[in-house]
């Protein structure tokens, strides 16, 4: 444009074109993506990447192997469903955050998020559902990594993979919405508990002024619709929590109690409102 006096477009030098093409092919080693460009010179790099990235999520027609869930630092959440485990931040956590950032970076809402370089993982919870071995239900895997940025603002990054008939996989990454209105669970007396992310039956959020939590979820019976209450053991680390409360349907609800040094200091209840938007931000599927 004349009024901006922009430098004119330049022809792309062949050596620069080659370097860009090579980089696009040479996907970062921890990624599970296949290289996109069909270029003979990059075949060796692509092959090496494929071997490395094939390891973390290995599925069979019978469900998932323990490759991802049986990390040395992973422990089963006491009292939870057998497949729920929590682990310290690890290489998988970083890779999952990279995927969530990829969803953010290609979203018009990218400006609402702190840069990826400031995301620090706090813990990762994995829920592996073994498949029934036949038909469409071949298992699923969901990992949620809690993270915070330099300002202390929390976020949750979900990575999931579903196996369907013929071992066909679909994979997706979803990140919490930093602008979503929190779910108020309990507040008062210097303590505050609120949810900031819900997906696949997992509720995550912030617990301030308490050191432990108990949750009791209420969900309608699938056949009779009668409300059924059950205890849900949460993961609580560094002021962030995640708990499996199941699918939300009217009249679903969650009751929470917060404790400090073993003393109950706060309690509250929340009833599911289907009119509220889901608390998820950008996502991407592969």
């Amino acid at each position: 444009m004349k009024d901006l006096d922009l430098p004119p477009h330049s022809p792309l030098p062949p050596e620069v074109r080659d370097r860009i093409r090579t980089r696009v092919n040479a996907v970062p080693p921890r990624s599970r993506y296949r290289a996109p460009l069909s270029v003979a010179a990059a075949v060796a790099v692509v092959a090496a990447g494929a071997v490395i990235v094939g390891q973390p999520m290995s599925g069979t027609s019978d469900g998932y192997r323990a490759g991802t869930t049986a990390l040395p630092s992973a422990t089963t959440v006491p009292g939870s469903s057998p497949q729920l485990t929590v682990s310290r931040p690890n290489a998988q956590s970083d890779e999952d955050l990279d995927r969530c950032w990829a969803a953010v970076a290609t979203s018009p809402r990218v400006a609402e998020y702190a840069p990826r370089s400031t995301w620090q993982p706090v813990f990762t919870v994995t829920r592996a559902r073994p498949g029934r071995g036949i038909g469409l239900d071949s298992g699923s895997l969901v990992r949620v990594t809690a993270f915070s940025d330099n300002s202390g603002k929390p976020g949750f990054c979900e990575n999931g993979e579903v196996l369907s008939e013929g071992s066909k996989r679909s994979w997706g990454a979803t990140v919490s919405d930093p602008s979503a209105e929190p779910i108020p669970l309990a507040a008062g007396g210097g303590a505050n508990i609120y949810g900031t992310y819900f997906s696949h039956g997992l509720l995550a959020g912030v617990a301030q002024g308490v050191d432990s939590l108990t949750f009791r979820a209420t969900n309608p019976h699938p056949d009779t619709g009668e409300p059924i209450g059950y205890d849900c053991p949460p993961v609580v680390r560094d002021g962030l929590f995640l708990v499996e409360v199941g699918g939300l349907h009217v009249p679903s609800g969650v009751a929470v109690k917060g404790f400090d040094d073993g003393n109950e200091v706060i309690s509250g209840e929340w009833t599911y409102d289907p009119a509220k938007d889901p608390m998820t931000g950008p996502s991407m599927m592969e």
Binding site: R21, T22, T106, A111
Partner: protein, 193 residues
């Protein structure tokens, strides 16, 4: 490295067709999209960064994300450029706020090139870089809606109808934003030494 250009048939496939095939995993189709648009994206990336070396990184990242996202994206007006330009703009903003690990990872990829190249010819481009940096500083000060329109239509030189459809607004809105932005940019650029 040997440049392997994708084979072309008698008819040139549209971006929509190539994008659709790439979404199904056709790397040859994505390669053709890459060859078709890499120069435009690289030039646009320069206008977003005022740096040829950063433009190279940004172009790589943009096409990597394009490969990852093509299954869920729909093209408008048979051109992949509005989407590619927007991705490049988002990545450029993040790069300014704090370099991503994603880009760091890309930079760690071994580079066998040892010869002097386009990006090394700094002296010849100092004036252009400085001018571009001044323009960029002015563009970044614009309100978001105006900045988006400027990045697509002025820096990226996309037709207004394409930008309007991509942004989901009326053409008249884009023209209005551009008009306001031009006036502000002229003022800001005149104020700068």
């Amino acid at each position: 490295m040997t440049i392997a250009k994708p084979p072309r048939g008698a008819a040139i496939a549209s971006d929509v067709e190539l994008w659709s095939r790439a979404a199904d995993g056709d790397r040859q189709a994505f390669g053709e999209l890459f060859e078709r648009h890499v120069e435009a994206v690289w030039n646009h990336a320069y206008r977003l960064t005022a740096s040829w070396s950063q433009a190279e990184d940004l172009t790589s990242s943009t096409f990597l994300l394009a490969w990852r996202k093509c299954r869920e994206m729909r093209l408008v007006r048979d051109s992949a450029l509005p989407w590619l330009y927007t991705v490049a703009g988002n990545l450029a903003r993040d790069e300014r706020r704090g370099t991503t690990r994603f880009l760091h990872a890309l930079r760690r990829v071994p580079d066998s090139s040892v010869s002097a190249d386009h990006a090394d010819d700094v002296a010849r481009r100092v004036d252009g870089d400085a001018r571009m940096a001044r323009i960029l500083a002015a563009v970044r000060s614009l309100p978001r809606a105006e900045r988006q329109a400027v990045e697509l239509c002025l820096l990226g030189e996309l037709p207004v109808p394409d930008a309007a459809e991509f942004l989901g607004v009326a053409e008249v809105s884009v023209r209005s934003r551009l008009s306001r932005a031009r006036a502000k940019l002229r003022t800001k650029l005149r104020e700068q030494p």
